[in-house]
C-alpha cells in the first residue's frame, strides 16, 4: 500500500476502494511529470503561448496614494486566458491527462471560472468534457454556463445537497468512480485527496515564482506581506509558494459573508466555526456541525463558497506560517468599487476579498514596505452579481427589456 500525502496533520486520501488504482496511476503520472524538467518547460511554453504568462505585476500607484502606507502591487492573474488563475491548473492537468492517454475530463465548478477553464482546456486538447455545477451556481453564473456549453462541454446542474460547489465535487466523484478508465477528474483547487492539493499547488506555483522575480526586479526588495483570497486555496497556495522560504508575511482572506458573527460565511481558518474533519477525500478544517455534517456556507463570491479548505493551508496555519482573515460581502463590494475607480482594474469578487484585507493593513505599513495582492481573476464574469450588489437600476431596466424582447 502506498503512502498517502499528508501536510502535517492534514490531507491524506480518503477515497473509495474503486478509485485507489486510479489515484495510484495519477500519483505516478504526477511524480514522473514533476521529475521531468521537460514537462515543466512544456507547461511554461503552453502557458506563455496560449495564455499570457508571465502575467504582469502591476504597481497600484493610486491605491498606494489613497491609503498612504505600503506600496501596493497587484499580481494580474485576471489577464490569464479565460480570466483567472484557474487556467494554470487546468492546462497543467491537461498535459498530465495527455500523458496518461485519457480522452475525457470532468470537473466541478462553483463560480464557473474553473468550469470555463476546464472546458477550454478540453476544447484545446480535444477531450470530451462534463462539468458538474451546483444548481444555485448555474443560476448565479449563467454566462459561464453559456460559454462552457459553447466550448463543447456538457454542464450538469447538481440538485443534491446544498446545490453548490461541494455538491458538484461529490457528483464529479460519482462520475469518476464509474468512468475512471477513460476519464480524469480535473479538480479545480488545492483540495481533495492526494495528489490534488500538491499537484494543483505545483501548477499554481507559477504565480508565486513569477511574482517573486517580478517584485525583486521592480522594487529590489521582497514584499512585507502577500495577500490572497482563499476558496479552496489554489490561488493562495500559488502565490504563497513563491515566498514560503522568505521573511514574508502571508495572509489568506476567506469569505466573511454576512459577517462571522452571523454564521453565514465560508471562513474555515479565520473563524472558530470550523473544525477538523474528513470529507471529499481529505482531512482539513470543515464548517460542520457536531455530528460531522457539513453546514451551509455563504459568500457573495461563488468561488469562495466552500466548506473545506486546502489541507496545505490548514497545515500552514497550524504552523503559524500563514495568517488568515475574513472579508464580508459588503467590504468586498466596497473594495471592488474602489479598485475599479482608482486603478481601472476589475478584480473578481473572489479576488476582492484579498484586496479588502490589504486595504485594511496598507495604511499601517510604511512607504518603504511593499505588499502584493493576488488578483486571482477578473470581475466581468460577475456582472450579474456585481450589478445586483450595487443595485444598478439601468442594468435592471436593461434585463427587463431583454426579457420582454424574448417574450415577444
Amino acid at each position: 500500500m502506498r503512502e498517502r500525502g499528508y501536510y502535517g496533520d492534514f490531507g491524506g486520501s480518503f477515497i473509495p476502494e474503486i478509485l485507489v488504482a486510479t489515484f495510484d496511476e495519477l500519483v505516478d503520472a504526477f511524480a514522473e511529470a514533476k521529475a521531468d524538467p521537460a514537462f515543466w518547460r512544456e507547461y511554461e511554453t503552453l502557458m506563455s503561448s496560449y495564455s499570457c504568462r508571465p502575467t504582469p505585476l502591476t504597481y497600484a500607484e493610486n491605491l498606494t496614494e489613497h491609503f498612504g502606507g505600503g506600496r501596493i502591487f497587484i499580481k494580474r492573474e485576471d489577464l490569464n486566458h479565460t480570466g483567472a488563475h484557474k487556467a494554470n491548473n487546468v492546462m497543467g492537468q491537461g498535459l498530465i491527462v495527455k500523458r496518461m492517454g485519457k480522452q475525457r475530463v470532468i470537473a466541478e465548478t462553483g463560480a464557473g471560472q474553473h468550469g470555463v477553464a476546464a472546458a477550454t482546456m478540453a476544447a484545446k486538447f480535444g477531450f470530451d468534457c462534463t462539468i458538474y455545477m451546483g444548481e444555485v451556481d448555474v443560476q448565479r453564473q449563467r454566462p459561464n454556463v453559456f460559454w462552457m456549453e459553447q466550448l463543447g462541454a456538457e454542464v450538469v446542474p447538481v440538485s443534491s445537497g446544498t446545490r453548490i460547489l461541494k455538491d458538484a465535487i461529490n457528483e464529479a466523484f460519482r462520475d469518476w468512480v464509474t468512468n475512471m478508465d477513460t476519464t480524469h477528474y480535473v479538480l479545480g483547487t488545492a483540495c481533495g485527496p492526494h495528489p490534488f492539493p500538491e499537484m494543483v499547488t505545483w501548477f499554481q506555483s507559477i504565480i508565486g515564482s513569477e511574482a517573486r522575480r517580478q517584485v525583486l526586479e521592480q522594487t529590489g526588495q521582497l514584499p512585507a506581506r502577500v495577500y490572497a483570497c482563499v476558496g479552496g486555496g489554489s490561488n493562495a497556495m500559488g502565490i504563497f509558494s513563491g515566498f514560503l522560504d522568505d521573511p514574508v508575511e502571508l495572509v489568506g482572506v476567506e469569505a466573511g459573508g454576512r459577517g462571522l458573527e452571523t454564521g453565514e460565511h465560508a471562513s474555515r481558518l479565520a473563524s472558530d466555526d470550523a473544525s477538523v474533519g474528513i470529507a471529499q477525500g481529505y482531512k482539513t478544517y470543515f464548517l460542520q456541525d457536531g455530528d460531522g455534517q457539513m453546514k451551509e456556507t455563504h459568500s457573495i463570491a461563488a468561488g469562495l463558497d466552500y466548506v473545506g479548505v486546502s489541507p496545505i493551508l490548514a497545515d500552514l496555519r497550524e504552523a503559524g506560517r500563514v495568517r488568515f482573515a475574513a472579508a464580508t460581502d459588503e467590504e468586498v463590494v466596497e473594495a471592488l468599487r474602489l479598485t475599479i475607480r482608482k486603478e481601472g482594474l476589475i478584480p473578481a469578487l473572489e479576488s476582492s476579498h484579498g484586496f479588502v484585507q490589504a486595504f485594511k493593513e496598507a495604511p499601517t505599513l510604511s512607504r518603504d514596505d511593499v505588499i502584493v495582492i493576488n488578483q486571482s481573476g477578473r470581475g466581468d464574469k460577475d456582472i450579474f452579481t456585481v450589478a445586483d450588489a450595487i443595485g444598478d437600476p439601468k442594468w435592471k431596466q436593461f434585463i427587463r427589456e431583454k426579457a420582454e424582447e424574448y417574450d415577444a
Binding site: P16, E17, I18, V20, A21, T178, V276, G277, I278, Q293
Partner: protein, 256 residues
C-alpha cells in the same frame, strides 16, 4: 463474531442476503418497520447507514435518502438509539455503514464503544482505506467488532491480500465500477474477479452494487456467500411503501 454467525447461517442457506437501509429514511418509524419486514422475510444481515451530508460513494437513490433523513432531523445519537433498538430486538447481526467523518467527529474509539454498547456487529466505511485506518482498526479490534473492507474489480491481487489482512467479518466485493444503484450486468469477468477475491481471503464474500432481483441472486448462488441488496430495497419502498418490502425480499430467495 460476525464471521462465525455468517458461517453458521451459511450452513443452512446456499446464499445469504444482506440488505441496506438509511436510518431515518423516510422516518425512524418506517425504518423500524422495514427492518421488521426484512427480518421476517429472512434477511441474514443488515447494513444500517448513518446518513452523511457528503456520501460520495452513493448513487442518487441512497444520496436522496441520506439528505431526506438529515433534513427530517436525523442525528448520530438517534441513529445509535435506532441501532441499539433493532439489534436488541432482532436476532440477526446489524452493521453500521457510514462515512469516515461521522466516526472521526465522534471520536473513533468512542464510536466503536457505542457500537459495542448498542450490540452492533461491525461497520462499513467506504471512504476509509486501510492505509488510513490504524486507529479505527485498533478500536474495532478491542471490541471484537468487524471492520468490513471492500474489494473492487480494479483492486490488485497484492492489495486484496493487504486488505484481507485487516478485514474482519466479511469482505464486501463491489461488482463493478460506479456508485450504488446502477444496473450491473453479471458477466464472465465477474467470475474471474470473484476468483481473485476468493484467493485473497477466507472471509465470507458479499457481493453488492446492482443486485436487484431473484435472477441476480440465483446467479450469485455458489459464487459468493452473501448477496447485498442495497438501492433496490429503497426503490421498492419508495414505489410500493413499506408493505412492499417483505414480499420483495421473500421473492429473492423463496420458492419460484
Amino acid at each position: 463474531m460476525l464471521e462465525a454467525i455468517l458461517r453458521s447461517r451459511r450452513e443452512e442457506q446456499e446464499i445469504l442476503l444482506m440488505t441496506h437501509i438509511v436510518i431515518g429514511y423516510p422516518s425512524f418509524d418506517d425504518s423500524l418497520r422495514v427492518v421488521e419486514a426484512m427480518v421476517e422475510a429472512g434477511v441474514d444481515v443488515m447494513e444500517l447507514q448513518i446518513p452523511f451530508s457528503e456520501p460520495i460513494a452513493d448513487g442518487p437513490v441512497i444520496l436522496h435518502a441520506n439528505q431526506q433523513s438529515l433534513a427530517a432531523g436525523s442525528s448520530v445519537d438517534l441513529c445509535f438509539e435506532f441501532g441499539e433498538a433493532v439489534s436488541r430486538r432482532f436476532d440477526i447481526p446489524f452493521l453500521l455503514m457510514t462515512y469516515y467523518n461521522i466516526l472521526f467527529k465522534h471520536g473513533i474509539d468512542a464510536f466503536a464503544q457505542r457500537m459495542a454498547d448498542a450490540g452492533l456487529a461491525g461497520a462499513i466505511v467506504p471512504d476509509l482505506p486501510p492505509e488510513e485506518a490504524d486507529e479505527y482498526l485498533a478500536a474495532m479490534q478491542k471490541r471484537d467488532l468487524a471492520p468490513i473492507f471492500i474489494f473492487s474489480p480494479n483492486t490488485s491481487d497484492a492489495r486484496m491480500g493487504e486488505i484481507a489482512r485487516v478485514a474482519k467479518g466479511l469482505v464486501y466485493c463491489v461488482a463493478r465500477k460506479g456508485v450504488t444503484g446502477a444496473d450491473t450486468t453479471f458477466s464472465e469477468d465477474l467470475d474471474a474477479y470473484l476468483a481473485r477475491c476468493r484467493a485473497a481471503t477466507d472471509l465470507p464474500l458479499a457481493l453488492g452494487f446492482g443486485v436487484k432481483d431473484r435472477a441476480d441472486v440465483d446467479h450469485l448462488r455458489g459464487r459468493v456467500d452473501l448477496a447485498v441488496i442495497g438501492t433496490q430495497t429503497i426503490r421498492v419502498m419508495d414505489e410500493q411503501g413499506v408493505d412492499g418490502v417483505k414480499p420483495f425480499i421473500e421473492g429473492l430467495r423463496g420458492p419460484a
